[in-house]
């Protein structure tokens, strides 16, 4: 009986939060099926004149849908690089002491502490000199600045939770470092890798300032293309809402794929 009421309280709390979380999103989806006139004219829970016009604009106009493709390319490159360089580094930080380890660890995070506007001009000059302007690589590299430190910190947090005896037993059993890392250690920190990958994806996906500055046509991301809905003639609310609704989709698919990593977590095979 006691367990039962407790369970109900938790579920009620969760449902209440989910409603709070979904209402603004519902309103965005609702707006995306209306026309601009209808959005501004009156309050309604459902579109009175259901319209797919905004979505049609996005799916038929190449300058719109190419934005999604560009974003996906550089976000993908960025996430893969971030996680692959962060994994060994996080292992080093969690397992060994070495010269300057604490300072470097904290220094990494300081790179997230500067308003991104500060980086605009120097990055513009840097990537122009390198001849990388308006490429996916440029944006992916620029985003490493805030994603690599994040990935290192998250992964280190998870790795430090794994007892060091596991490493030692494996080395005694004759495992080489790469084999130990791939077959024993990685499965143990699945949850951390899942969360880190999702956060790298997310922060790179929604970043606007740098992505807009470093691209013009060929690699222009969807977040930058969206800003065209704000113009002198007024806001194009409906198209913005439709584009916003569509920007959620790739991330939702990513979290769907990493959900098992996050939820399973610690499956102590050995010890």
């Amino acid at each position: 009986m006691h367990e039962d009421t407790r369970f109900k309280k938790r579920t009620l709390f969760l449902i209440a939060y989910l409603i709070f979380a979904l209402l603004p999103i519902y309103w965005m989806v609702n707006m995306s099926f209306k026309s601009n006139e209808e959005i501004l004219a009156s309050f309604s829970f459902f579109p009175q004149h259901f319209s797919l016009a905004s979505y049609k604009t996005i799916f038929t106009d190449e300058s719109w849908y190419s934005g999604y493709i560009n974003s996906l390319i550089y976000v993908g490159i960025n996430t893969v690089i971030s996680i692959s360089v962060a994994l060994p580094a996080a292992y080093a930080f969690s397992r060994y002491s070495f010269l300057g380890d604490k300072h470097v660890f904290f220094w990494l995070l300081t790179n997230r502490m500067t308003p991104p506007a500060v980086f605009l001009l120097p990055f513009f000059q840097l990537y122009t000199t390198l001849g990388l302007m308006d490429t996916h690589i440029a944006v992916a590299m620029a985003h490493l600045l805030f994603n690599v430190p994040l990935a290192v910190w998250i992964l280190e947090g998870f790795m430090s939770g794994i007892p060091r005896e596991i490493d030692e037993t494996a080395y005694i059993d004759g495992y080489s470092f790469p084999r130990f890392f791939a077959t024993i250690f990685l499965p143990l920190i699945k949850a951390g890798v899942g969360v880190a990958a999702f956060f790298c994806f997310m922060f790179s996906w929604v970043e606007l300032l740098l992505a807009r500055t470093l691209t013009s046509v060929n690699a222009k991301p969807i977040v930058a293309i969206m800003t065209r809905t704000v113009s002198a003639s007024g806001m194009d609310w409906a198209t913005l809402a439709a584009a916003g609704t569509l920007t959620i989709v790739p991330g939702a698919i990513v979290i769907w794929f990493v959900r098992h990593y996050i939820a399973k977590g610690f499956a102590m095979g050995r010890v």
Binding site: A21, Y96, L108, R112, F123, G244, I255, G265
Partner: protein, 294 residues
């Protein structure tokens, strides 16, 4: 203690190169600007610390800083406990777990300018769900006219937008606790609260530290959402630090003072994060010692 092994630097090297490549050049540029008066690209005068002194004396900056501190503290006080509570309530297995994970993370994935725009409509009492709902309840709510309403709207928007980050980190941290710990607690007849206090909370300390630092520094640099939602108004009630900085840099085109401002800004965040970090580290350390004495 961790064994000393200088070769571990090789594992860190790729990260070091990636980040240093992007970080050092901009920092040099900013320091360079901060000590010069740039009259035109050809005419620059070295002014030393003059910009720093004038920025530090700016009363508007002091107000913006105070508003910013208040906002960031409020963000932490709401989002961290709420995020932990959510992490504890989320189902661990089955389709319910998957569905909750996906639904909870949706708000994180919306570009920040869209977040502001959606809340702009959402909060309007004539055509927005939140505004109309509050009006129906008899609350006199107007985020464009009333300072307190505007401030609260920005706060609620931030809570809506970012609590999932804390919840996801906490949830993943909870899932990393081996079953053996819970079994031991059950044998000892530990209460739910004792399990939370002595097993779940200490085990989540690492991820919660990341959550606290991330939420602190990101909320301290918040720009796009309040800029789109309220434009900093009414009055200056939601003009936070970065918006004030941008007004200075872009609006008045004062590169020198703006650069000095960014450096001071960065140092404030650095100092506060350093204090938070060390405080949470010490908290964990004393906990460990307490446990080993017991």
């Amino acid at each position: 203690m961790k064994p000393v092994n200088q070769k571990a630097w090789f594992l860190v090297l790729p990260v070091f190169i990636c980040v240093a490549f992007s970080a050092i050049l901009p920092l040099m540029t900013v320091v360079n600007y901060s000590v010069q008066d740039i009259i035109s690209p050809e005419r620059r005068v070295f002014v030393g610390v003059e910009w720093f002194a004038s920025v530090m004396r700016d009363p508007e900056l002091h107000e913006a800083l105070l508003r910013q501190l208040l906002f960031s503290v409020a963000v932490l006080l709401v989002e961290i406990p709420l995020g932990i509570a959510l992490a504890l309530s989320m189902p661990a297995q089955g389709w319910k777990s998957s569905a909750t994970l996906v639904l909870i993370s949706l708000s994180l994935l919306i570009p920040w300018n869209v977040v502001g725009t959606i809340w702009q409509i959402f909060g309007r009492s004539d055509i927005g769900l939140l505004g109309a709902g509050l009006k129906a309840l008899g609350v006199d709510y107007n985020y464009t006219g009333n300072s307190l309403d505007a401030w609260l709207t920005v706060l609620v928007m931030d809570v809506w937008h970012w609590t999932p980050l804390v919840a996801l980190l906490g949830f993943a941290g909870l899932r990393s606790i081996p079953d053996a710990y819970y079994q031991a607690a059950r044998i000892d007849g530990a209460s739910k609260f004792a399990v939370f206090r002595y097993i779940q909370l200490p085990k989540m300390r690492g991820v919660l530290m990341i959550a606290v630092l991330l939420r602190f520094m990101d909320s301290f640099m918040i720009y796009t959402e309040p800029f789109v939602l309220t434009g900093g108004g009414p009055g200056n009630s939601t003009t936070f630090l970065s918006q004030y900085l941008t007004q200075k840099a872009v609006g008045q085109f004062d590169l020198g003072p703006a650069a000095a401002f960014s450096l001071i800004y960065f140092l404030i965040i650095l100092l506060l994060c350093f204090i938070l970090y060390n405080w949470m580290q010490a908290l964990g350390q004393s906990e460990k010692e307490g446990a080993s004495h017991a």
